[in-house]
């Protein structure tokens, strides 16, 4: 719909493991790196078939945890399924038996009447645009920016501020302390029988409202140390390329990219972000939006304040700000966090 060819759309949706893959050629890596800003990679695990009437094909997630096998007969019938034996052909008529390989694409161009080789296909797509050039011209790494002094202090004592946000002794002692001292999450196994925050009348920490029900069970069990080629945590702040505007007109600058190596920002990172205008001499324009409101207005005040915040954020983008910081630093006796 956005003008992408079918194979290109699939390459964006289910990318290969490109981050630490030394065997991948430069242009293809640039294609995946550029499009990572537009589309969250979908890891599956899955074997996905697709067609737009002119092309038909299938692709496998980059971990290769789902089977996909195909065979080709002399009169060019292609049978692809997750298992062999779904349809059988006289064996003397079959000339090729193969499988979909992790991150590889199997594509048939019905108009050209041929199977398009994965290498050829991805070469043509990744060299159609100067992706590497676009990246280098528009990319800004946060970690390469010079450090700046963090001048943002708390308005109240640490304890009072923690209480304002619903932190409990338990959060500090059993969750935050181990992370700070061992640089890894504490592992607990007793489960958590406290009521869901939305049902509780207690003041709950924001993060407790987000439950991650996610377990990728693989058989055999695999771990990211042995197969780290598939795990990438690179993230983006602020502007993104326009998903529906694939053309960067001649002379037009490709959209800016502000990259961080992983999504959790330290206060030092935030300090840089607050002064990113100066640090990138105006390339990025940042606006800090206050997310606190007068506590005296109570809960109905909160709704109004939220609506105002959303409207203000939207308007500021129109005014040319491309990095918005939602800040709750103004929390104090009079002002509560939204």
């Amino acid at each position: 719909m956005g003008g992408y060819s079918m194979p290109q759309a699939m390459m964006m949706l289910i990318p290969e493991a490109w981050a630490e893959n030394p065997l991948m050629d430069e242009e293809r890596r640039a294609f995946y790196e550029y499009n990572a800003a537009m589309m969250e990679p979908w890891d599956g695990p899955a074997a996905v078939a697709f067609t737009d009437g002119r092309m038909i094909g299938a692709t496998l997630d980059r971990n290769g945890l789902r089977p996909a096998r195909y065979q080709i007969t002399d009169d060019v019938i292609v049978m692809l399924a997750s298992e062999m034996g779904v349809l059988t052909f006289p064996q003397e008529e079959v000339n090729k038996k193969w499988r979909l390989q992790p991150g590889k694409m199997f594509l048939i161009d019905l108009e050209q009447g041929r199977i398009v080789d994965d290498e050829e296909l991805k070469k043509s797509i990744s060299t159609a645009r100067p992706y590497r050039q676009w990246i280098e011209k528009s990319r800004q790494h946060l970690h390469t920016l010079p450090g700046v002094e963090d001048t943002e202090g708390l308005r109240e004592s640490l304890l009072h501020t923690q209480q304002a946000f619903g932190y409990t002794q338990e959060d500090i002692k059993f969750i935050l302390a181990p992370i700070a001292s061992n640089a890894e999450e504490a592992t607990g196994s007793m489960g958590n029988d406290s009521p869901l925050p939305v049902l509780s009348d207690k003041n709950k920490l924001l993060y407790n409202y987000f439950k991650q029900l996610f377990a990728q069970v693989t058989n055999p069990p695999i771990d990211p140390i042995r197969e780290e080629i598939v795990m990438s945590t690179m993230s983006f702040i602020g502007p993104r390329p326009n998903l529906l505007g694939i053309e960067v007109k001649a002379g037009e600058e490709p959209p800016l990219r502000l990259e961080v190596e992983q999504p959790v920002l330290s206060s030092a990172d935030l300090a840089k972000l607050r002064q990113i205008d100066k640090l990138t001499n105006g390339k990025f324009r940042v606006l800090v939006l206050d997310t606190t409101f007068p506590a005296s207005e109570g809960t109905d005040g909160c709704q109004a304040a939220l609506d105002a915040l959303c409207a203000r954020a939207e308007a500021s983008v129109g005014e040319g700000y491309n990095v918005l910081i939602l800040s709750d630093r103004n929390v104090d006796r009079q002002r509560a966090p939204k």
């Binding site: 030394p22 065997l23 290769g64 089977p67 096998r69 298992e83 062999m84 034996g85 059988t88 006289p90 064996q91 003397e92 079959v94 000339n95 090729k96 038996k97 193969w98 499988r99 390989q101 992790p102 058989n219 055999p220 695999i222 042995r226 197969e227 080629i229």
Partner: protein
């Protein structure tokens, strides 16, 4: 069920080699020959899906293409992913290519195959795997035991190998021990395949390829044996560091036993 009945009567030792041979044609479902007991041969003319030989326990599984199929065995897939996952003992001969994670977490089975996908021999702790063709990426990741002999088709195998726990060596010319008697009868070394001591790499490799030809009739493998001198130098031995240490310790203890 068959293996279960055999195990009930004969325990893990199963039946003498070759007592029962079952011939099959066509395509098998997943986990073909899983937990197959010692003494039973499954000979399949056709192809297998994922998990062929899952937990193989001493039996022999052979998969060869149908006689009418004209494709080259080393260029066509014949078994799926996670083949021989957790196989403790037994043999498998596949005249064709295997999928991803071939012989993953294999503690003791012997297998010959004509190509494998990514993550071959991942987490392997014992046994012997011969690959007569190209491998995928990340071969030998987390491999701590057993041998793998890989035919380096294009000279680039090293770039596809995960070198974190293994070393790549040429076929060694001498044996690591004179003969099994050095270790006495009670070879309680669990997952260690005694042939890894008592046979030279080249002899073990050629014996396994010959058995592969015998059971599958593979022309690809046969041509390698016929012009062995030409192909010999392309075989690389994948040697896990921990397995090297274990073998050296066992030899040291054996010497101590003799001296006492």
């Amino acid at each position: 069920m068959l293996s279960g009945e055999i195990a009930k009567r004969h325990g893990g030792a199963g039946l003498p080699d070759g007592t029962l041979t079952i011939r099959l044609h066509g395509t098998t479902g997943q986990s073909f020959g899983a937990f197959l007991a010692n003494g039973v041969n499954f000979v399949l003319e056709g192809e297998g899906n994922d998990y062929v030989g899952n937990g193989l326990s001493g039996g022999r599984i052979v998969v060869r293409p149908p006689a009418a199929f004209r494709g080259e065995t080393q260029d066509n897939i014949i078994v799926g992913n996670n083949v021989l996952y957790g196989a403790t003992d037994g043999e498998a001969y596949f005249s064709g290519v295997g999928g991803e994670r071939f012989a993953v977490r294999n503690p003791g089975a012997t297998a010959v195959v004509e190509g494998v996908g990514d993550h071959g021999c991942e987490y392997m702790t014992g046994g012997t795997v011969v690959v007569l063709g190209e491998t995928g990426r990340n071969f030998g990741a987390g491999m701590s035991g057993g041998f793998a002999y890989v035919y380096d088709v294009d000279g680039k195998f090293a770039s596809r190998c995960n070198m974190a726990q293994v070393a790549l060596e040429p076929l060694s010319a001498e044996r690591t021990a004179a003969d099994a008697s050095e270790f006495g009868e009670d070879t309680e070394y669990g997952a260690v395949d005694l042939r890894h001591f008592t046979m030279r790499d080249e002899d073990l490799l050629k014996e396994l390829i010959a058995k592969h030809v015998e059971w599958t009739g593979s022309q690809h493998a046969k041509s390698m044996l016929d012009q062995w001198d030409k192909h010999r130098a392309k075989f690389i031995k994948v040697m896990p560091h921990e397995y090297r240490r274990a073998l050296d310790d066992i030899k040291k203890n054996a010497k101590v036993k003799e001296a006492v």
